[in-house]
Amino acid sequence: MPPEPAVIADRYELSVNATMRVVEDAWIGETLLFVLRERLGLPGAKNACEQGECGSCSVLLDGVVVCACLVLAVDAVGSEIQTVEGLSASGDAADIQAALVRGGGVQCGFCTPGFVVAIYDLLRRNPDADEMAVREALSGNLCRCTGYGRILDAVRAVQRARAS
């Protein structure tokens, strides 16, 4: 099959972690995940499946969790993008991150940034989520190492600490 003509966008801007970032001479078909990782030096969102099944590329797009692999970067122009790096810098997810480390919720760590974003989003929307609601909210994030037990425990620990 003949390659389609490559469409190059000469310039667009993305608002990432409250900073305007310029993307130049990029192929128009690049996903937000690719642009974050390969053009903007933000590899925190991970590339495990690149078809929206595993949640490891989770970012917040105008406050909503999305799989960055399913969003074209040019479609994110005009939106506010928050990545795990942004949550780390602001300290907004610090207790979640600490609980995951302390509680054994991290092994290989490839799914971890996605879980941090998903847990941050869940506890913001539903701080008192019960066990089943936590499981349901995190069911779009695959982990192959932990069997999820220590991740669940970390969520509970954060819920308890925030409630007290």
Binding site: E30, K46, Q51, S56, F110, R135, E136, L138, R144
Partner: protein, 784 residues
Amino acid sequence: MKGTVLRSGRGTGEQAGSGIATLPGGLGTLPGGLGDSPDRPDGVQKVRGEFAFASDLWMDAMLWGKTLRSPHVAARVRAIDTSRAVAMPGVRAVLTAADVPGRPTFGLEVPDQPVFASDIVRYHGEPVAAVAADHPELARRAALAIEVDYEPMDAQCDPEAALHAPPIHPDGNLFRHLVIRHGDPSARGDVVVEGSYAVGMQDQAFLGPEAGLAVPGDDGGVDLYVATQWLHVDRAQIAASLGLPVERVRLYLAGVGGAFGGREDVSLQIHLCMLALRTGRPVKMVYARDESFFGHVHRHPARLWYRHHASRSGELVKVEARVVVDGGAYLSSSNAVISNAACFAPGPYRVPNALIDGYAVRTNNPPCGAMRGFGAVQVCFGHEAQMDKLAAALGMDPIELRRRNALTRGDRLVTGQVLTGAVPVREVIDAAVAHPLPPVPAPDAPMLARPGGAGATADASHVRRGVGFAVSFKNIAYSEGFDDYSSARLRLEAGLDGEPTATVTVATAEVGQGFVTLAQQIVRDELGVRRVVLAPASTVDVGSAGSSSASRQTWMSGGALQLACAVLRQELFGRAAELWECGSSQCTSTGSSVRRGDTGERLGIAELLARGPLETEQELHHRPTKALDPDGQGDAHLSFMFAAHRAVVDVDAELGLVRVVQMATGQDVGKALHPLQVQGQIEGGIAQGVGLAVMEEIVLTDGRVRNPSFTDYLLPTILDMPDVVASLVEEPEPGAPYGAKGVGEPPAISSGPAVLAAVRAATGLDLCRAPLRPEDICLGGHPA
């Protein structure tokens, strides 16, 4: 015997990180030593998204690599025309078999696999060419622009038929036939049960895809940053195919996003290095998920036939078994997998007479190799189903039958090997059974808690509960005479602030298991040094660590590091003795100082290091093992791990849907050096066992992979994962560093068979194939 009870899951209300370490604090005096559960040193980087995985690597002016793979299961390659790809602007190299500078093949044990297929492709997805281009999309299009003229051939995808079929490969179709003859093969029992079983092809499905960055060196060599399980064995294979001396091929471990056996074989390593050397530029390659399914070996599918003989009182008299594992197109580690499958075919029971035939066969299916549990997983589905059948035939409780026949210290395996280490089989059974059963769900339980979950399909009145049980064992480290070793380099010096600093350099692949944590714990305990730094793992600064597989790194790399600590402790004593002008035998270690026995004087490690750094590199070789003789007899294994699992399931038999409700386990760990990490291994391994039992399978149609994606290859989600209750059985293993056994594999072995047993109990069906498919249940069982 001491037991540590671990609990997780719904409603236990325990604090993260507490209620776990019921052992007294570290064995040593510093916090964060052995027996404690200190934080992983890479944990903070990982939760912040700052840990550099292989796919995160980046260099200025780097190119992107892409592999072209065969769309055919078996075909003759008549011609390859790369001219259109080469002519595309931005394409910097297009390589095929003709460009391999050195040995055209590679392989863990025998180099029988082409770097690129030249004349014949033998499986769906076999590499044919590789491209380097300025942009990954361009590389993808260039790969598609390569024109390969294939002449499809008949494929041989059935391992039984392949045994008698014309050879697929010059080395033939039989990788290994292993016979184990033990005792009196003509012995007969009063009660005989027979069964056939099958296990499908499981994928490791590590989340971090295969990835690496190759950088051409000034010396004509290459530096490769790659996610792997064994740097040095990769290096040997890469160097041979590049035609370079090994010292000009330098490997550095890039962050590894899980492994589970799937990174033991070379995938993109040689292609990447060839592209970098050809273009003179750094080249990055990252497999997409579909390519990852084609790019690494899988767990061998297996067909099992068993006949068990027992006395009327329930003593096993004889086990006959025939085990056939499908190795796919190339050897990989099939020979070792069939050895494990045959050696452990009877399960952890006393079996005086045995006749076991194991075959590993070449077919045109995707190559199979290492995956967590390695041969022991497949046969466990058979031997445990047989034990249940036998219990039913004897009218005996299935757990009592297992207890009665459980191996103990001093018993012989069917390979004739006498068990001299810790063999707490009865203890792990009793520990698993001791956990309370979960409550039966209320009729108004949330829909998500029913079989079918979010599908909202199961009617609560149709759901039946079942409980099943399984026991397993497996070897630690490499067997059959392999000289298995690990190396550890340790440097001790005063930091800039004067604080003693230990730097550990090991080539041990940290794949998520937490060896990095353990290394710090060992040095803290052995030397009383608080600050322990881990240098990057590479082939440059230290000898081989062997693979992060076979549950071996705690023993092997942990043991090598323990040796290195002992050497430097003696050197510290030597320095102290010189200062005190006494014999170094007077010196003892007390926390972070050295004490002189006769006077009670002390010298801090910091003071002793003021005279300069100390450094050593040590190798640990485990006790030699022996080859198996023609009757499959011999002391082939170093040590064994045992585990028992009890599964509780809810089944909607009308729809064929299963929900695993609880997994209870007792696991023999020797000694839990980091209880929280042990718990993580247990829960994670059980998730993979549950996955194999109820959902995970690479589906093949005439050798063609039908589901190379996470959309179609299902992994357990957090909604699928049952509660896990675990008890650790701690009986120190003689000869093992700190008495610790490996812990990674046992959770993945009998967990799946316990789930199948539970579904059989819930449905009354003779289910003999893993994974269970809905139709197996709702259509009333399925022949193996």
